[in-house]
Symmetry: C2
Subunit: 345 residues, 2 copies
Amino acid sequence: WVGSAGEGVVRLIDQTRLPSEFLQIDCPDVETVWEAITMLRVRGAPAIGVAAAFGAVLGARRRGLASIETVRDALRASTARLRTSRPTAVNLFWALDRMDRVGEAEAALADSPAALLDRLLLEAKTIEQEDRAMCRAIGRHGAELIGQGQGVLTHCNAGGLATSDYGTALAVIFSAAEQGKSVHVYADETRPLLQGARLTAWELQRRNIPVTVICDSMAAQVMKEGRVQAVVVGADRIAANGDSANKIGTYGVALAARAHEIPFYVAAPSSTFDLALPDGSLIPIEERDPREVTHGFGRQTVPDGVDVYNPAFDVTPARLISGIITEKGVIAPVSTEGIRAMLLG
Amino acid sequence: WVGSAGEGVVRLIDQTRLPSEFLQIDCPDVETVWEAITMLRVRGAPAIGVAAAFGAVLGARRRGLASIETVRDALRASTARLRTSRPTAVNLFWALDRMDRVGEAEAALADSPAALLDRLLLEAKTIEQEDRAMCRAIGRHGAELIGQGQGVLTHCNAGGLATSDYGTALAVIFSAAEQGKSVHVYADETRPLLQGARLTAWELQRRNIPVTVICDSMAAQVMKEGRVQAVVVGADRIAANGDSANKIGTYGVALAARAHEIPFYVAAPSSTFDLALPDGSLIPIEERDPREVTHGFGRQTVPDGVDVYNPAFDVTPARLISGIITEKGVIAPVSTEGIRAMLLG
């Protein structure tokens, strides 16, 4: 967020332009934030939550500051709009619920519309600040699981670009590196949108951590060759039993890791858990535009008229997950009871 | 082959241009055939074998027809050159060995250099003709394994473009369709060079067989959703015990198929077996230019200076293979004894 509550904007890195261009965009209203989330200019479950919280502030002021009710109603309409941007990452709904709760409570207490708006901006900044602290805590807990000299495979991007600080899955790697461990990362390129090739490789390179990009189809082979001793990925929504939705392809990686007896870890903050869902079969899976597959590289790669299926996420069952690394500690083994004990205990 | 032994050329579809362009190229000499194989203008283990056989004919005439020895020596030099084009598909070496054997034997028998060249062209045409018959026989045997209404997943392209007729893995599907079975094919796009998206989808669409293209990372999810009842892939080299090298990603597909208890079949002619290798660990795996991954389709997708690993093949262990479909019949279960009995029995 840049500027005052009344005049400020949300500043984002346009992640669709990386790694060729580092371009920041300013979102002055709720629609530009909605578009940025939908088009994956901002992406990664925690970052989507933070961006949506700031988007709610932009929305709350869009009908002016004539009365407290005006701000409250504009907030309600804006959070409803932002909820439609993407379906899978629960952090989006978690952050918007939190903004709604603060809006309702503060509407009764605030002594002016501007004070209400200030309070909303403070809440969004608190979410962002908590997200920063979460990254550091996940990194600290997760780094204990990574050994000196290990190869670590990751899928998609769960790094600084996906959060407010330095990531979830990548926080584990960054923290291990800060502890002086040498780690070699294998980054799945992550079709169709290549977040691994474009974003994870870029982040690791900037921090001087050795990284090798592979096609998604090479992960099993790289494991077979003995190059990988741990897998760490992020998550977009985790059900009460530990079933974890993450970028499409994660499930196949988990199956390959199990076949090679390589530990498979999910790193995610408590805001990514959806305890209302008993298991992963109930997680809504976003299906995206076939053109992401057919026209992904600037050249058409599938003949006209051929059907394409493009689910953006899959669900890895809890039984394939060796541990879930949260900001509160590592849940291992993964079970409904273990999750409740860590998050609510 | 178009034209006479002395003047003819090898005509190939340039598969790197598909599906946007259907372009045929004429190779007038051994170097253009070598380049076409190396650059994957012609690809697919059986097609590489056939192209190399014709390439050997072009090479045999390259020093003119002054004497039988001239032709024989030019043949030897040309087959040696063609052997360096790609390392993994054994059909290449199989076809060139055969051309060499005929060259040596006929050099002693032929009554003119032109007669020797004619005999070499006849041998190459015989290899091509056998390849056509092989496709049909593989299709016939394999179609028995496919049920009405099934979803069949394939990886890479083992179709008409990979052979002289209508393929190995795709022959099974084409033959099942000819028998009146409705089949829905899931085609892995097959990074980095997208043979599935570009070539398999194109072939199936031309034959009006329903096909859905997916990213490689989606195969496990598509299996989990119950969309796939069988996997059929081709092979580039099969060791004596049944371990099968095929396009990178095949091994991960086999692991996912096993996890979902879906039968996984390899379709390949006897020319793809390398009985000199006891198991797959001895199969040489080609590593290709990182730019196939980083600059696949016109847009740079990996930051400059980031390391890339690009193995072109992996080896699926025999224990994950439900059956190998050859032109002589189906080898199931897959074992050294079963393979010897089918191929040599």
